[in-house]
């Protein structure tokens, strides 16, 4: 009995010690965009290698989740794949927070169909009409006579909002659009579904042989542009110049001007080392002259 008691005390002490230790170092929590989770984690890993006194935790949940957490004060930084909304800035002000924005990388959304689908290119308007439910058969855009099956993301994802605002012109998604929990689930579903269409970050689709990334044209008169460079990688030039129509910035938001360890971390992200990681995992680094906003 006494032995179990003393062992319990030791275990408790160990837990307490473990709990106290991170508080002694600088602890940075980052929450938000699922699109940016991989990027955020790679940044954190590399940064912690060279700065062992800093502990960084990166979690996903969606851009909306991250910004909500920033406003509730449960995270120091929020990753977001969409710009902050006016009402979120308003809510931040109510909580006495001044949200500061950092453009940390760029991303392009690819539209993807099953590799068996003969469709090669679509205009933004066609994609919009497909997703709003005005085009329901692939025949209407030059494909086979097959009902279109639309895959989309949960409404808390930045990708969902970005696509709705830029491609659907703020119209509603068709009611039969199936909601997937993540872009990799969209990739999985379209790969299994010959009549499927999906969208998301290029990195999720480029390597899957069962998927085909569609060329996108701004309108009927413009040239359809693929976000892919020759080697199956993302083409930076079309994103920087914004000639590829579905591109966006990836943001990090901080509550108030970042200070101390957080500021150093953000400077590092915007510097050459951080941007090299952006490149490595197939997002688009910020053009050099605009880095750091």
């Amino acid at each position: 009995m006494r032995r179990t008691l003393s062992m319990g005390v030791i275990a408790l002490a160990a837990i307490a010690a473990a709990a106290i230790r991170p508080a002694a170092a600088d602890n940075i929590t980052v929450k938000g965009s699922d699109t940016m989770v991989i990027l955020g984690q790679r940044w954190a890993e590399e940064y912690m290698k060279s700065h062992p006194d800093v502990a960084i935790q990166v979690t996903g949940g969606g851009s909306g989740t991250g910004i909500a957490a920033l406003l509730n004060g449960t995270t120091k930084l929020a990753n977001s794949s969409r710009p902050i909304k006016p009402e979120e800035i308003e809510a931040a002000k109510k909580n006495g927070l001044d949200v500061v924005e950092f453009k940390t990388a760029m991303d392009a959304l690819a539209v993807v169909v099953n590799a068996a689908n003969p469709i090669e290119k679509l205009t933004i308007k066609q994609v919009g009409m497909i997703y709003t439910g005005y085009i329901n058969n692939w025949k209407a855009v030059g494909g086979p006579d097959k009902k279109i099956l639309r895959y989309t993301r949960e409404s808390n994802s930045g990708t969902y909002v970005f696509f709705k605002e830029h491609v659907l012109n703020n119209r509603d998604y068709a009611a039969d659009a199936q909601t997937m929990p993540g872009t990799s689930a969209v990739a999985e579903a379209v790969a299994k579904d010959p009549a499927g269409i999906g969208f998301g970050g290029v990195a999720y689709f480029a390597t899957n042989p069962k998927l085909k990334i569609v060329k996108i044209a701004k309108d009927e008169k413009s040239e359809a542009i693929t976000p892919l460079a020759g080697s199956g990688k993302l083409n930076f030039e079309v994103v920087w110049s914004r000639t590829y129509p579905i591109s966006r910035y990836l943001y990090v938001y901080s509550a108030g001007q970042p200070q101390g360890a957080v500021k150093e971390y953000l400077d590092w992200i915007l510097g050459p080392e951080g941007q090299a990681i952006v490149d490595k995992i197939e997002y688009v680094p910020m053009p050099a002259q605009r880095a750091g906003n």
Partner: protein
Amino acid sequence: MSVVEARLQNGAAPALRAKTEPAGRRRVRARRIERLIELFLKLNGFIAIAAIALIFVFLFKEGVQAFRSIPAARFIQSTELDFDDVPQTVRMWQPVGQNPKYSLIPLVLGSLLVALPATLIASLFGVACGIYLAEVAGRRAREIIKPAIELMAGVPSVVIGFFCLATLASLIQNAFHTTFRLNAFVGAVGVSFVIVPVIATMVDDALRAVPGFLREGAHALGANRWETITRVVVPAGASGLIAAILLGMGRALGETMIVLMATGNAAQVTVNPFDSVRTMTATIAAELGAVPQGGEQYRALFLVGSLLFTLTFLINLMSEIVVQRMRRRLIL
């Protein structure tokens, strides 16, 4: 008769008795402890009631506030311009966007499209299994099957959900040539895995409560086993069967993880069980974590929760009433 009692009667008692306290005091003390335990148990019972009442109050308090910023009609339908800028009436759940849509119709239909087929499938298997366990199975078969069913109830729903998503969905699509790979029916089959054990155990219990003299009477009148089961035992335990099915349906309505993974989550107004649907539970699970507290969507989700709670509460209440009626009838 225990060893001590035996010894007391054999006259070895005096020595033994002298060592312990006088019987009277012991009895007083035992009674006091008993009363304390009783109080503790009573308190626990009241805590359960209080917890349910508080959940009720909390849910409805938040849910009702949705009506402050959203007109009630918009929980049925709203108006939206179509591609040619002609206003159209739409019934959709799409709470993120410039003109949020909060129609509850697709969600309620989605929940029913999963829960009703699931209850139907599970009732077929669950009732049959329960009858077999209570009336037909020999002792050894029962000793194997009953724990197996209880084990089935312990399979985490996320595992079943994953199985539906990865394997069952393709099987069903190949068998029925459905347009949607993930659809309400896949979810229903998954959910029925969870509620078969609920129904089977309750049916088993209900039929075991049917007094033996009914069976003996039937046999005495020359009925064979099948006739005894179908004409006597099952009718006598009918309300127990109905209660089991209702309780299973309550569980089916409340099941979240499986439907979130297996139904495809398209909030459309449909009555086709092979369409992709979005249930009330999946909507709450997928969206509540991401909305700012106290916002319009947050309250709308609480309203969905209140509706779900009311529905399952009514179903469970009904099953409880049915069970009470059966008890009264059988005691007669």
